[in-house]
């Protein structure tokens, strides 16, 4: 019967075979590869696009009736358009060839605006007008403007930047990215639950359980789907980092590389924390259409850290955040946020990770118990309490 080279199923071999099938069933499909490509392109485009969106806009402002030098140095974000007089200034502004204008007539300057002139252009035109008026006044008072400028330069001001604070825009970018990752946990967690209920509803699970244990089956399935999820997230992060490499100025409002890697690490930990519970939820029902009912509480639990993070971002250094950042599942969102803001050290992150890993061991144990006690029970949905008590 048994050939000499044949061997009994070892625990890891069973898990490996289940994992391998999941990988083949999910990743070796056109749909998955296309979604990978689309997500990568989307993140690349967003990163580059955010750069252009985040850059300050340049306004065209007309400087009329005097040489450009009389208006002083052009303010940043302004492109000066020379023109001969006030009438020309009005025409240029009305025809939208300039957003605003500063026009000199005889001994005074007029600022020309439209009703919809952007604030930045309005400020530039007013600054140009004020500069010409000041220079004109200095000339009337016979002041040596060259000496005055030199004295001002010597007196300052000088810039002195302290601390390693991160801009609000960067924190917002980091929050958006972590929320996207948490949505991935919900999406891929639901895929795990669907995979489990598919095996239950098609009854193949009984054939499989004659060969592998419930724990092997659950771990192989969760690991396979997790791999598909991680590859997807890696493609997204890779596209963002690639866009940064190709366009060094791209994604100015996105978090730095270290913050991205920290977010990726905490995504993995948070996914591991919830993955087993999603598998257990799938084992409670016998039909795919019953899945939403058992998934809803789990989805709410998964998204709870997002609400906490929104509250915490107002004051990342407040005392309650300092405590909650170590508590799973909130640490999954708060820690990368704090890391991005430079508020936590590596040992602090390691301590929070250790707590999350311990919590993951507990959820996996509970999930395995629920899965083992529910996977062969066909019919009405099994309650969590029944499955745990059985």
């Amino acid at each position: 019967m048994k050939t000499p080279t044949e061997k009994h199923t070892r625990p890891l071999q069973g898990t490996w075979q289940v994992y391998r099938r999941e990988i083949e069933a999910r990743m070796a499909t056109k749909g998955y590869l296309v979604s990978l490509l689309v997500l990568g392109l989307l993140m690349f485009g967003l990163t580059v696009g955010l750069d252009f969106a985040g850059k300050p806009k340049t306004s065209s402002v007309a400087a009329c009736g005097a040489p450009a030098a009389d208006f002083g140095p052009a303010p940043s974000g302004a492109r000066l358009v020379p023109c001969p007089d006030l009438d020309a200034a009005r025409r240029l502004t009305a025809d939208r060839k300039a957003e605003a204008a500063a026009a000199v007539t005889a001994d005074h300057v007029t600022v020309v605006l439209r009703g919809d002139t952007p604030d930045q252009a309005r400020a530039v035109a007013l600054a140009l007008g004020r500069a010409w008026a000041t220079n004109h006044a200095y000339a009337l008072q016979h002041i040596d403007t060259a000496a005055l400028d030199q004295a001002v330069v010597q007196a300052g001001p000088r810039l002195d930047t302290v601390g390693a604070g991160v801009g609000a825009a960067e924190i917002s970018g980091l929050i958006s990215m972590i929320v996207v990752l948490f949505m991935q946990i919900v999406g891929q967690g639901s895929a795990i639950a669907q995979g489990v209920v598919e095996e239950k509803s098609t009854r193949i699970v009984e054939v499989l359980l004659a060969t592998v244990s419930p724990l092997q089956l659950m771990v192989g399935k969760v690991a396979g789907i997790a791999t598909a999820a991680v590859v997807q997230v890696a493609a997204m992060l890779g596209a963002m980092l690639g866009a940064r490499g190709l366009f060094p100025d791209a994604g100015g409002s996105l978090p730095g590389t270290a913050a991205l890697l920290s977010a990726g690490f905490w995504f993995l930990l948070s996914f591991a924390l919830f993955a087993g519970l999603f598998a257990a939820a799938g084992s409670l029902v016998s039909r795919p259409e019953d899945l939403q009912t058992v998934l809803m509480p789990l989805v709410l639990l998964t998204l709870a850290p997002v609400a906490v993070a929104v509250a915490a971002v107002q004051s990342l250094s407040s005392s309650w955040v300092q405590i909650v950042q170590y508590v799973p599942p909130f640490s999954g969102l708060l820690m990368p946020l704090q890391a991005g803001a430079g508020n936590v050290s590596l040992p602090q992150q390691a301590a929070a990770a250790a707590v999350t890993i311990a919590a993951t061991a507990v959820t996996m144990r509970l999930a395995a118990r629920v899965y083992r006690n529910s996977i062969l029970r066909v019919g009405a949905a099994v309650r969590w309490r029944q499955a745990l008590a059985a």
């Binding site: 069933a25 054939v207 359980l209 004659a210 060969t211």
Partner: protein
């Protein structure tokens, strides 16, 4: 080859006792039919032997070893509720199950080719399961149980839903495996098939083994209605009050009678001739169906006694 032995196997679901100290053995080369009513405990008993469920007390042994994961991996199991991945092709499905049982890909491929040819489904290798007819899906399911050339076969209702040609193929495979020394245990409601195929039969009722033995042993006259008597001209109910009759029930044109202790056929005959002309007196060997009915639900046999 080693025997498969149930020793005191007991299992409960909450307050419901599904199995109560089940004891029997399936010897190498033997085909053992497991019959019983719905909910009698057949599926639970087979699931425990296949390693899908754990017994509360007692154990199933393969030779001298209690069946654990390594032992169960050498068993071929076909559950009552057929199950395969509907979108996976026949070949991929069987290769996967072969590898799960510890075969290399090459071994699994060779076994897949052999069994699909043997079961007449080799033309469907690359078709997803849900595109096959029900009969062919059943054949794939059987191939899934045989892919690793198991040392024990455990099949739950293997004939359910099969057409006559598939029943013949399935029967032939079971006989073939038994001839190779494999203990074969299967459950079925199709008692004619059990009668035709099995060397031994176990009847389970309410989780307990009500009877077990070879067909001849089971059908041997016991303390049941084993004498058939036809008396022309006798009034209905004539055996009532007859000292030689312990109990009786009407059957066809006569009655089935159980003799009272200390009486013989002669005593019964002497009584019968007083009521009319005796046209027939013979020993009745019950069919498996009759036996099943008596053992599983004796209250329904209409015995007035």
């Amino acid at each position: 080859m080693k025997p498969l032995t149930y020793k005191g196997v007991t299992k409960s679901y909450g307050s419901h006792q599904a199995l109560d100290r089940l004891d029997f053995t399936v010897h190498p080369g033997q085909i053992f039919g497991f019959v019983g009513g719905n909910g009698a405990g057949k599926t639970t008993a087979l699931r425990i032997a296949a390693g899908v469920l754990a017994a509360d007390q007692g154990a199933v042994y393969w030779g001298d070893s209690p069946v654990g994961r390594p032992e169960a991996a050498r068993f071929g199991y076909m559950p009552e509720e057929r199950g395969l991945y509907p979108k996976m092709t026949v070949a991929k499905q069987l290769l996967y199950l072969g590898r799960l049982h510890g075969q290399s890909t090459a071994q699994a491929r060779s076994a897949m080719t052999r069994w699909t040819r043997r079961l007449g489904i080799d033309a469907h290798h690359d078709k997803p399961i849900d595109t096959l007819s029900l009969g062919n899906q059943q054949r794939v399911q059987l191939a899934a149980a045989l892919i690793h050339d198991p040392d024990v076969l455990i099949l739950d209702e293997p004939f359910s839903g099969l057409d006559p040609s598939a029943v013949d193929d399935m029967s032939e495979v079971l006989r073939e495996k038994a001839a190779q020394g494999v203990p074969v245990l299967f459950s079925s409601h199709q008692l004619d098939l059990v009668e035709r195929l099995c060397d031994r039969v176990g009847v389970i009722a309410a989780g307990r083994l009500a009877a077990e033995g070879s067909l001849d042993e089971l059908r041997a006259p016991r303390t049941g209605h084993s004498l058939y008597l036809e008396v022309e001209g006798a009034p209905p109910g004539w055996p009532e009050g007859t000292p030689a009759v312990a109990s009786y029930r009407p059957d066809a044109a006569g009655v089935l009678v159980e003799l009272a202790d200390g009486h013989t056929e002669n005593d019964l005959l002497a009584e019968a001739v007083r009521h009319g002309t005796v046209r027939a007196l013979n020993r009745r060997r019950p069919t498996l169906t009759e036996l099943f009915r008596d053992l599983v639900d004796p209250a329904k046999d209409g015995t007035p006694a």
